[in-house]
């Protein structure tokens, strides 16, 4: 099993206990009085059987507070996700921190910022690079690219899932649109693995038919579920962080109720991806203070109060179009505040140009950032050996600690030494060709793609995936979607 990083201190809290209670109570009130729209009769029937008041005309279920509280209590504080390579499996929850690969619709040229449709080979290379990076623990759906040249849009999720299983032994999240969950479940099962199912709401307060169907399907397969309700403050959520916290909380709690009514005790990880709107353009403002504060409040409520594993997506993207100072300045504070406030999973590696683009070279640089953040949350030990009072006394006012046994024993673990960031002196930097972090990451990229060999699938598994994709294609053709 991948161990990830262990947070060795209490998560940062930005709300008082009474503020947490206030947000929770308001969320319950929204679900009781306004309700939540489930665009599926099957889903509404399940909820009605569990005590919700259902209006089949509007498809709104009003959820009693007691049912929401029951569903929270049924959701485990941790769950296991089985990868096709047992050493790459994960256990989400508690104080463990993992990192999720980011994604982008298309491939971005690292030097020019030009965005183009990725080929299948570029997609596969992106997966191979992330398979090689220790700090990438898992892949979301349609990663690294949403679109692949020559692949019909409706096949992009199943093909992306197939390639992630072929070129990485790390676990994946499934997708929900247009029956993709059927094929993604089959692909994972063909590899003797689990995927995290995906049930993503549509703010405000609704869940479309596809994710409702995906929930039944993924839970029947016994998979844990990733839930989300991506939203924009000022658009589909209130502009205030407190108001958006209530709306978002209510949406995710409604999905928790739905899932626990279908299969009590199912593992769930709840995602936060709520951004503020750019009021000049209507686009998403990535990497801003509002997103960070919303995530930190969410983390406190879900980690400390509900005790349900949490994912943060705020650091997945940046509005920067190239790998520059803005990119780092938008992604890093978000990732850091997520880690400090209790996130179990942070989306980070490789996303640029809002959600429009991805490049594996950025993923290599993000590997250093993830390792630095991970090292920070692990904290440090305070004991006789680490304090080393005897060494301090021995060195006194004139010696050096460099020659001490304590330095030799601890220098590698007390700090994380970035692999891509330049730590040379000025003279050495000039003599070595003034290499930037991007130059070094490009070199590393070449090294990875020429040397890294992902754990292969066996022939039978590979053929089975081919068969599943052919079946999917036939299915979509019959439906007139290809």
């Amino acid at each position: 099993m991948q161990k990830g990083f262990k947070r060795n201190f209490e998560p940062l809290k930005i709300l008082t206990d009474s503020q947490v209670e206030q947000i929770h109570a308001a969320s319950l009130n929204v679900l009781e009085e306004v309700g939540f729209k489930f665009e599926s009769e099957k889903a509404l029937k399940v909820l009605e059987e569990h005590g919700c008041t259902v209006d089949y005309q509007t498809m709104i279920a009003k959820i009693p507070a007691s049912l929401t509280e029951w569903a929270i209590s049924k959701t485990p504080s941790s769950f296991y996700l089985k990868a096709r390579d047992p050493e790459k499996s994960l256990r989400f929850g508690g104080n463990t921190l993992y990192f999720f690969n980011s994604a982008g619709a298309r491939y971005v040229d690292i030097d020019t910022g030009t965005v183009t449709m990725p080929t299948l080979e570029q997609n596969n290379l992106g997966v191979i690079v992330s398979d090689a990076l220790d700090s990438v623990n898992a892949f979301p759906s349609y990663t690294p690219y949403f679109e692949i040249e020559g692949v019909p849009p409706v096949m992009s999720c199943p093909v992306s899932c197939a390639q992630r299983h072929r070129f990485s032994s790390k676990p994946s999240r499934g997708a929900q649109p247009t029956y993709s969950y059927i094929w993604e479940t089959m692909i994972a099962q063909a590899c003797d693995a689990q995927i995290m199912g995906c049930v993503e709401g549509a703010a405000p307060l609704s869940l479309a038919e596809d994710p409702c169907n995906a929930a039944f399907h993924y839970l029947e397969a016994g998979f844990p579920i990733y839930i989300a309700s991506g939203s924009i403050m000022g658009g589909s959520h209130p502009i205030t962080i407190a108001g958006a916290s209530v709306s978002h909380n209510a949406e995710l709690l409604a999905i928790i109720v739905f899932l626990q009514c279908i299969r009590p005790g199912s593992g769930v990880i709840a995602n936060n991806f709520v951004t503020a709107m750019n009021m000049a353009t209507g686009d998403l403002n990535f990497g801003t203070s509002a997103t960070s504060l919303h995530q930190m409040a969410f983390n406190q409520i879900w980690h400390s109060y509900y005790k349900i594993p949490i994912n943060n997506t705020g650091s997945a993207f940046s509005n920067a179009k190239i790998i520059d100072y803005q990119l780092g300045a938008e992604k890093l504070p978000l990732a850091m505040s997520s880690a400090l406030s209790g996130a179990n999973l942070i989306v980070l590696h490789g996303g640029v140009t809002a959600e429009l683009a991805y490049n594996p070279i950025l993923a290599i640089i993000d590997d250093d950032i993830a390792n630095t953040i991970g090292r920070i949350v692990e904290g440090f030990n305070v004991n006789d050996e680490t304090i080393g009072l005897d060494v301090i006394k021995q060195v006194g006012a004139s010696g050096t600690f460099l020659s001490s046994r304590q330095t030799r024993n601890f220098w590698k673990t007390e700090d994380y030494m970035p692999k891509m960031f330049d730590k040379t002196g000025y003279k050495e930097w000039v003599e070595n060709g003034r290499k930037t972090v991007i130059d070094k990451a490009k070199q590393k990229y070449e090294e990875i793609i020429s040397t890294h060999k992902p754990l292969p699938l066996d022939d039978g598994q590979d053929k089975e995936i081919d068969k599943i994709l052919k079946e999917a294609e036939k299915f979509y053709k019959k439906k007139g979607l290809i």
């Binding site: 992009s156 649109p177 479309a208 000022g234 589909s236 353009t281 959600e355 979607l481």
Partner: protein, 215 residues
């Protein structure tokens, strides 16, 4: 009296006064203000907001709230125009909506508001609009332009389905089609047989004007 009523109509838009919009419009009608002048006062004011939005002087909440004011005030004025047997002029008629499977409304709403502010008559079908609903609206309203939005890669192809539907119904040469949304670009718009593509909401208005030969 008439000038003050016209100024009040202008003010409710520029002050984003949604609460008093209907009342002020009714007052203008009761004071026998020419309804065509009343409509012009409202559309001139929202055009000012639209222009300011493009320059960065106004922001989305301003644009949307101004549109809300018009939604309340315009029906009152339109009713009076019809009662008096007069005709209001517009740059053209647009049917707009977000395609089936897609529930994203913000971008579509911006284009809808800016088109209205620019002087178009806009029939907004909302979100998650099925191909048949687009076709029915085109038969019913006979617009000059059909504008479709899609925010998801997976729903972008629905724009093509609607265009194919237009061809089947022999309506394709009766309406100009413009498309937009995050996964859309000029190349995609060309590939599905659209007449125009706008990368931003203000672009959408420029494309609409250009397709109708409006300066």
């Amino acid at each position: 009296m008439s000038e003050r009523a016209l100024e009040n109509l202008r003010s409710i838009v520029l002050d984003f006064d949604i609460d008093n919009a209907e009342k002020v419009a009714k007052e203008a009608v009761s004071q026998n203000v020419d309804p065509l002048e009343a409509a012009k006062a409202l559309t001139d004011a929202i055009r000012e907001i639209g222009d300011g939005f493009e320059k960065g002087d106004y922001f989305l909440p301003d644009l949307v709230c101004a549109a809300e004011v018009l939604k309340k005030a315009i029906p009152v004025i339109t009713e009076e125009i019809q009662k008096q047997g007069k005709k209001s002029g517009s740059l053209g008629k647009v049917v707009i909506g977000t395609v089936f499977g897609d529930i994203h409304s913000i971008g579509k709403g911006m284009v809808s508001t800016l088109l209205y502010a620019a002087g178009f008559e806009v029939i907004d079908l909302g979100i998650n609009v099925k191909s048949d609903a687009f076709l029915d609206a085109i038969k019913e309203h006979r617009p000059d332009i059909l504008a479709m939005s899609a925010l998801l890669t997976t729903t972008a192809m629905e724009q093509k389905n609607v265009i194919e539907g237009l061809k089947k119904e022999k309506l394709r040469d009766k309406v100009k089609v413009i498309v937009g949304g995050s996964p859309i670009n000029q190349e995609f718009a060309d590939s599905i047989g659209a007449d125009g593509y706008g990368a931003t909401a203000p672009d959408g208005v420029k494309v609409a004007k250009s397709l109708l030969g409006i300066e």
